[in-house]
């Protein structure tokens, strides 16, 4: 049974004494006692409300908040959610809240808000309704909003339970995977075309106020290209005969380009020309 302090016991006794006799307690005094069965009040928890104190915290955790507790109270009594006996349910709800407080459990504010809401609905229902109004206009049932919320919550409570029942990866089924040792992730090359290159160059030249560009022509490109080719061909420190570099099959313009490239390489001190004696073969060497 629930352990209660001496002070609380005294309170219960006082409450019980007050309620001795057949007179019904005035509204609002019910909170002093723990429960009411039929027309008398109990100082002890009825069996179906008994929860071992150690388990109460666990018990509280099993409820996902005030709506869940309320649903439990309604469903336990097999009541229609659309037809909640608000007075009864409110009393039971408040009993639970009191129990939580008596056990000095950290009570979430939501539970107290719900208790207040229930009390408010109950008081509104106790107020007499104007007879005419009842016939003519729709007066909303004070329970309507609560019922709506309970229904909505219950839908998702069920949906959550069904979600839990769905076959789940790692519990009900397993995904087939195999190793692919030879399949290394490829590093893709970004798509880039000549146009991108040209645009890039245009940008940089434009920014740099590159004043040479009016001199650069298609030939010039070929010359620069030829300069690279020659440097590559020369390798480092190797002597190559000039005749070898100026090949006739390139045609006149080819030879000219090579020659200009050579001159440019010399000018830029990238290659040196050597000649053992006058009219001897000229050798080119990368510096």
């Amino acid at each position: 049974m629930i352990a209660v302090s001496e002070q609380q016991s005294a309170d219960f006794e006082a409450a019980a004494a007050r309620n001795d006799g057949s007179l019904a307690p005035p509204p609002g005094s019910e909170g002093d006692s723990l429960a009411r069965v039929g027309d008398h009040y109990l100082c002890q928890w009825p069996e179906d409300l008994y929860i071992p104190p150690d388990a109460l915290e666990v018990f509280l955790e099993t409820f996902e908040g005030p709506l869940d507790l309320l649903l439990y109270l309604i469903r336990r009594q097999n009541l229609d959610i659309l037809d909640i006996p608000i007075a009864e349910v409110t009393r039971q709800y408040i009993e639970y809240v009191d129990l939580m407080q008596e056990l000095r459990l950290e009570l979430a504010a939501e539970y107290l808000v719900m208790a207040a809401m229930l009390a408010e609905i109950k008081s509104r229902m106790l107020l007499p309704r104007p007879a005419l109004a009842a016939a003519e206009e729709e007066v909303e049932d004070p329970r309507a909003e609560l019922v709506r919320r309970l229904q909505e919550y219950e839908r998702f409570k069920r949906a959550a339970a069904e979600l839990d029942q769905l076959p789940r990866w790692g519990r009900d089924f397993f995904v087939a995977t195999v190793d692919a040792p030879a399949c290394q992730p490829a590093t893709p090359v970004p798509e880039v075309g000549v146009a991108d290159l040209l645009a890039a160059l245009r940008g940089v030249l434009h920014r740099a106020r590159f004043h040479e560009h009016h001199r650069v022509s298609r030939e010039a490109i070929s010359i620069r290209q030829r300069m690279s080719d020659m440097l590559e061909r020369l390798g480092h420190g190797r002597y190559v005969g000039l005749e070898e570099l100026l090949t006739a099959h390139e045609g006149r313009s080819g030879v000219v380009v090579t020659f200009l490239a050579l001159l440019e390489l010399v000018r830029e001190s990238l290659v040196e020309l050597t000649q053992a004696e006058l009219f001897a073969p000229i050798y080119v060497r990368a510096r």
């Binding site: 939501e110 229902m125 709506r148 998702f156 979600l163 839990d164 990866w169 519990r171 087939a176 195999v178």
Partner: protein
């Protein structure tokens, strides 16, 4: 030379996550950008998938359409044997987490405040974090109200985990009963007065 079916099967097994038909087609493209004559048609991939499904009919594995793609998985009937491979029992999720997940799944996009409204209790940050770490939910935007709260939605990983192809495969939500059925409450009050 491997067949389309061989490549599709190997790809599904190697990837371990759902692959769409488009993605499977792209395995055959020479380059990512251009459309390639070697790329099999949608129908060819579908035929390969159908043949695989038939191949697996008498086996412990099955081809399933999940999260908009295809995946090969071990049949649920074999779980009693296969689950012994792992020491740890699969995680059990709290009701709070499942209810939060259900609200996000059915009501997305939804804010934390809206979830709390329905559940009647605060949603703990750890639940949101757990769901985000599982990659079952993600922030898809912010509601244009004061505080600009994050809007949550479920992900493909959520669908894949629960073996769903799309959200319409979620169990149907129970219908809401019309509130007009609320019985006349004066009767109840009268009954109560009788009691007293």
């Amino acid at each position: 030379m491997p067949t389309i079916k061989d490549i599709v099967e190997a790809a599904l097994l190697a990837y371990g996550q759902p692959l769409s038909i488009e993605r499977l087609q792209r395995l055959f493209a020479r380059s990512a950008a251009e459309s390639d004559s070697e790329v099999p048609s949608r129908e060819a991939i579908e035929t390969a998938l159908a043949t695989l499904a038939e191949d697996y009919a008498q086996r412990g594995i099955e081809l399933r359409q999940v999260a908009g793609g295809y995946r090969i998985q071990v049949r649920a009937e074999l779980a009693p044997w296969i689950s012994r491979l792992w020491e740890a029992r699969p995680a059990r999720y709290s009701r709070a987490l499942l209810e939060t997940l259900a609200l996000i799944a059915y009501r997305q996009p939804i804010t934390r405040g809206e979830i709390e409204q329905v559940r009647g209790v605060a949603v703990s940050t750890s639940i949101i974090r757990t769901l985000e770490e599982q990659e079952w939910i993600r922030v898809v935007g912010r509601r244009d109200v004061p505080g600009r709260p994050a809007l949550y939605a479920t992900t493909d990983a959520f669908l894949a985990h629960f073996g769903l192809n799309n959200r319409s495969e979620l169990p149907a939500l129970t219908e809401l009963t019309e509130l007009t059925e609320l019985t006349d409450w004066t009767a109840e009050i009268e009954g109560e007065s009788d009691e007293q």
